[in-house]
């Protein structure tokens, strides 16, 4: 494993954090982060799906779309691949490991509409990554997402006990917390190997 591969993971997890820097997957980031446990389960589900989805999307692009010259079809193909993949993963887990399936609950099907999955697949293609780089960047991105959502859930559980001004209750205060986290994550911009 050489430096550039490690750099891909670090860059996608921390420096270009998918939520706080690129604004992908905001819906679930704001919606699910109410409780620590749910956030952690969603994080695990996202790591699982994004890593597999980047691998499959990369194979589809290299061996089907590029040879056929159908580059412009990538949005349609990727979204269908992701939707099908989530279904397959769901059925597989239900059959093979009901415990994990129970733990992930409704979060698994919700991931289809998480724009981070499609976003990572498209960015990978744009950057011209090979198969291994795609898998690592997918994994790194998902880890970054999990870090962000678990941190936010921790902040929110503390915020619940505070007396927040009425207009700021709900979404606004969560977004202000996210803004402060985003400033903190900007500090990773100086990181390099």
């Amino acid at each position: 494993m050489n430096n550039s591969l490690i750099m891909i993971i670090v860059a996608s997890a921390l420096i270009n954090n998918v939520v706080l820097n690129q604004f992908l997957g905001i819906c679930s980031f704001l919606g699910v982060s109410k409780q620590m446990k749910a956030s952690a389960s969603l994080g695990v589900a996202v790591i699982f799906v994004i890593t597999i989805a980047s691998a499959v999307a990369s194979l589809m692009y290299d061996f089907v779309l590029k040879p056929l010259g159908m580059d412009f079809m990538k949005t349609i193909i990727f979204i269908l691949v992701i939707a099908a993949l989530v279904q397959i993963v769901e059925m597989f887990l239900k059959k093979k490991s009901p415990a994990v399936y129970e733990a992930l609950g409704i979060y698994l099907p919700l991931i289809t509409t998480n724009c981070a999955v499609l976003g990572v697949a498209l960015t990978n293609v744009q950057n011209g990554y090979n198969f291994i780089e795609c898998v690592l960047s997918g994994f790194g991105t998902a880890v970054g997402y999990t870090i962000a959502i678990v941190l936010l859930a921790g902040i929110r559980s503390r915020m619940n006990e505070k007396d927040i001004p009425a207009p700021l209750r709900g979404a606004p205060i969560v977004m202000i917390a996210a803004a402060l986290m985003s400033i903190a994550f900007m500090g990773f911009g100086g990181l390099s190997f």
Partner: protein, 233 residues
């Protein structure tokens, strides 16, 4: 006709997708760095939304219920691809500015949300009006946020210098944290106005017992419920 206008009002103000329903936050936060980008993204989404509402509404009796979501996704993805190619061909500078977020219109929750909540139950004309209303609401929210961010972070609106030359731009507002901050403030201001209106109504008409709509502090409401997250436990 009245119904059509009511759809427009609904999308622009009453159920503004970004500011009230909190749908489509990803592109809203990401591309609102400049007012012009906000308009570009808003209008691209509007075009996709109107066409997808039209197509889905026309096909609402043809598409079987069990496979409706995959069918909608394919329709939306095709429309997005067409839009992407058109923007790439005719507005290359906008294409560079929006980048990844144009293909990501596919997973914009507003589009699937309106298809599921409105277009598959109503006539094509009303669905198109609903799309225009929602699309305009999205565009207005994005342009407003874009203009504020551009003003604070760069001293300009639509590229024209507004602030005096002595103004030192706060670049944080055109960087990612500024997006969260501006949207938080816009939504907080809308909440504050909502609470004021609500309090006036309560004084005039008395409590209607609808605590779900009510953001005021009121002893009838369980104090634990006021704090978010408390209701789900």
């Amino acid at each position: 006709m009245k119904k059509c206008l009511e759809r427009l009002y609904n999308g622009l103000l009453k159920e503004n997708p970004v500011l009230v329903l909190m749908l489509g936050m990803c592109p809203a936060l990401a591309v609102s760095t400049r007012a012009l980008n906000g308009i570009g993204m808003g209008l691209s989404t509007l075009a996709v939304l109107v066409l997808s509402n039209l197509v889905i509404s026309c096909l609402r009796k043809v598409i079987p219920d069990q496979v409706r979501l995959p069918a909608y996704i394919v329709i939306v993805a095709s429309l997005v691809t067409v839009t992407e190619l058109l923007i790439k061909a005719y507005l290359p500078s906008l294409y560079d500015a929006l980048g990844l977020y144009i293909p990501l219109i596919v997973v914009n929750c507003i589009i699937l949300g309106r298809a599921e909540a409105y277009a598959n139950k109503h006539t094509p004309l009303l669905s198109v009006m609903d799309g225009i209303g929602m699309g305009l609401g999205f565009t207005v929210a994005l342009t407003l946020a874009g203009a504020l961010r551009e003003l604070l972070g760069n001293g300009t609106i639509f590229g024209a210098q507004v602030m005096p030359a002595s103004y030192e731009p706060m670049t944080i507002f055109i960087q990612p944290p500024g997006a969260f901050m501006i949207f938080a403030l816009i939504i907080a201001i809308m909440n504050a106005i909502g609470i004021k209106t609500r309090q006036r109504q309560l004084v005039e008409n008395g409590c209607d017992g609808n605590c779900a709509l009510c953001a005021t502090a009121c002893e009838k409401k369980n104090p634990a419920e006021k704090k978010e997250g408390g209701a789900e436990k």
